[in-house]
């Protein structure tokens, strides 16, 4: 016997037939003891709480003097000039950009190869493989950083290579997971067709699959860049003279003093990151990229 939810006698009101992907009409729900109005106020306050600490930096960066003023009437670019004139901050900024680019490219290449191997060839061991790959996320980053520092006393590595390796390690879980998600949308028959027609496996991977998931790979790359650029824990112990990233430079500076020059630098950083974020959002959607 076929009962349809639309004509079920349990329903008090008929529900309009849904279009594909549309949700049924929501019943009026109030969250817990809060009324609708109180709930809206709470949500608004939470958004202010989330965004204010970041917006305040942008305002403070235009202060005309040492004290943070938030009036835009006497805004000045003084601290931005200060930043461009300061050697240590500009070189740290450049170094951070360079490091993030190198780490992101490496993490994306290794991530693509690994994701492809996991999705296409692990079969029943896939869940285990996918969990193992997440390992760098499961240990505190400070521990990864310290272990690599300890490794430097044993292996004749350079500090810089340890820093790059550390950044690749923390980016990998994100690039792998992101690319796995994109690979799931690829029809295996397309690969099988190319393979049947005589293409070797690596050519199928690079010439058939890779172009199909290009947006996913690009967003993994940008995302790895963002993670590497914002990292402070890995770089905390692996920085040295000439190899200091911007977040570490800022950290060691604001431990002792505070100046709006930091606000100017972080504002530039925020603008850069938000632009990248919007780009990823356009490509594949941020939540997909972040695996959240």
């Amino acid at each position: 016997m076929h009962t349809d939810i639309e004509t079920s006698p349990l329903r008090r009101e008929p529900v309009a037939p849904q279009a594909v992907g549309q949700l049924p009409v929501e019943p009026k729900i109030d969250l817990l003891p809060l009324g609708r109005r109180a709930y809206s106020v709470l949500i608004t306050l939470l958004y202010i709480f989330l965004l204010l600490p970041i917006l305040i930096i942008v305002f403070a960066s235009f202060s005309p003097d040492q004290r943070n003023t938030y009036a835009l009437s006497n805004a000045s670019l003084h601290w931005y000039r200060e930043f461009f004139a300061s050697n240590n901050f500009t070189s740290a900024f450049q170094f951070s950009l360079w490091l993030a680019l190198v780490a992101a490219v490496l993490a994306t290449i290794i991530g693509f190869i690994t994701a492809y191997g996991i999705v296409r060839f692990t079969g029943r061991g896939r869940n285990l493989a996918q969990s193992l790959v997440m390992l760098p996320m499961m240990v505190p980053h400070i521990l990864i950083s310290l272990s690599l520092l300890l490794l430097l006393t044993v292996l004749p590595l350079m500090e810089l290579s340890a820093l790059i390796i550390g950044h690749v390690l923390i980016c990998l879980p994100f690039t792998i997971a992101g690319i796995i998600a994109s690979l799931e949308g690829v029809d295996p028959d397309l690969e099988a067709a190319a393979w049947t027609l005589g293409a070797p496996r690596w050519r199928v991977m690079v010439e058939v699959t890779l172009p199909l998931i290009a947006p996913g790979v690009l967003s993994a790359l940008i995302f790895a860049f963002i993670i590497s650029f914002g990292d402070v824990y890995i770089a905390l112990f692996l920085s040295g003279p000439g190899v200091t990233t911007l977040p570490v430079e800022i950290f060691s500076y604001i431990q002792w003093e505070s100046s709006p020059v930091i606000a100017a630098i972080t504002t530039l950083q925020i603008v850069l990151i938000v632009l990248f974020g919007l780009f990823v959002e356009r490509l594949v959607g941020l939540r997909t990229a972040m695996r959240l």
């Binding site: 817990l32 965004l51 930096i57 190869i113 310290l146 272990s147 490794l151 005589g198 972040m290």
Partner: protein, 285 residues
């Protein structure tokens, strides 16, 4: 000649999976194991540490009241931050999950955006906000609550507020996912059967979002327990957490064995929390 798509792929698969295997073994598992082994070594001011086997670092952590306090306050702060984040994140996630308008993706982006700026930026935002000439102090003086700026930094409360700010997004998304994956007919069904909205929430929505709650909480607890930068910058000398202790032991007193012992305790807790998470969510699926 026709090739079989199902042909053996063993060799190619091992080529694909070898880079990550080498990378993880050589630069993650081996160094971390060695570092944890150092926690059983003897401390020596001259050569950092002397290989051997001693449990004195651990006994010092457990019996020295200073370190006991550090461990205790770390887990206390992590627990408080987790609970506060959970309540607020649930409200946000519920709101986003129930939204149907086109604003949703923008509001989602506003939650992710702070996450991408990095820990230093968000911590610095609180320094600007709470400093002696910061916005909060100015507002309070404007209203007449206080006559002179108050020291708002270097308090445990400040560290907790900033950590909640940092961790909130990590909690929102797992809960959001578990809310949106629920069958949308369940709550209407419950109300049809006479459940009041509150009861429908408590008996249908909340239990079904358990996996998101557990995942978010595990994530936030472990990230908070391992934080270094935020307590160091906002808490100053008065608030000490394990991450800070490791940082100071290694970089200023060069006591690697003791620092490694603190780290080992941190990792142990982390794995306990994660295994708890896996046990809990296996039951859910």
């Amino acid at each position: 000649m026709i090739r079989d798509p199902e042909a053996r792929t063993g060799a190619f698969a091992s080529i694909l999976l070898s880079p990550i295997t080498v990378l993880y073994l050589l630069f993650l598992l081996a160094p971390i194991s060695y570092f944890l082994a150092v926690s059983f070594f003897k401390y020596s001011p001259a050569e950092l540490f002397i290989p051997g086997f001693t449990t004195e670092n651990y006994s010092r952590l457990l019996f020295d009241s200073y370190y006991r306090n550090v461990i205790y306050s770390t887990f206390r702060i992590a627990a408080v931050v987790t609970v506060i984040s959970l309540v607020f994140a649930y409200a946000l996630a519920y709101f986003l999950a129930r939204m149907t308008s086109g604003w949703r993706s923008l509001l989602m982006f506003l939650i992710v955006a702070p996450l991408m700026t990095g820990i230093i930026v968000r911590t610095y935002g609180w320094i600007v906000l709470l400093g002696s000439d910061g916005l909060i102090n100015r507002l309070m003086m404007l209203v007449g609550l206080i006559a002179a700026p108050v020291e708002l930094l270097h308090r445990e409360g400040t560290v907790i507020v900033a950590l909640v700010h940092i961790m909130l997004p990590y909690m929102v998304f797992p809960i959001f996912s578990s809310l949106t994956s629920q069958d949308r007919h369940l709550v209407p069904a419950a109300s049809t059967l006479g459940a009041r909205p509150l009861r429908a929430f408590l008996e249908v929505t909340l239990p079904l979002s358990r996996s998101g709650i557990v995942m978010g909480s595990a994530l936030v607890f472990t990230l908070t327990a391992g934080s270094v930068v935020t307590p160091q910058l906002l808490g100053g000398r008065d608030v000490t957490m394990m991450g800070q202790t490791i940082y100071n032991l290694v970089l200023s007193t060069f006591n690697w064995p003791l620092g490694a012992a603190v780290a080992a305790l941190l990792v142990l807790t982390q794995f306990l929390v994660i295994s708890l998470y896996f046990r809990k969510t296996r039951g859910a699926h």
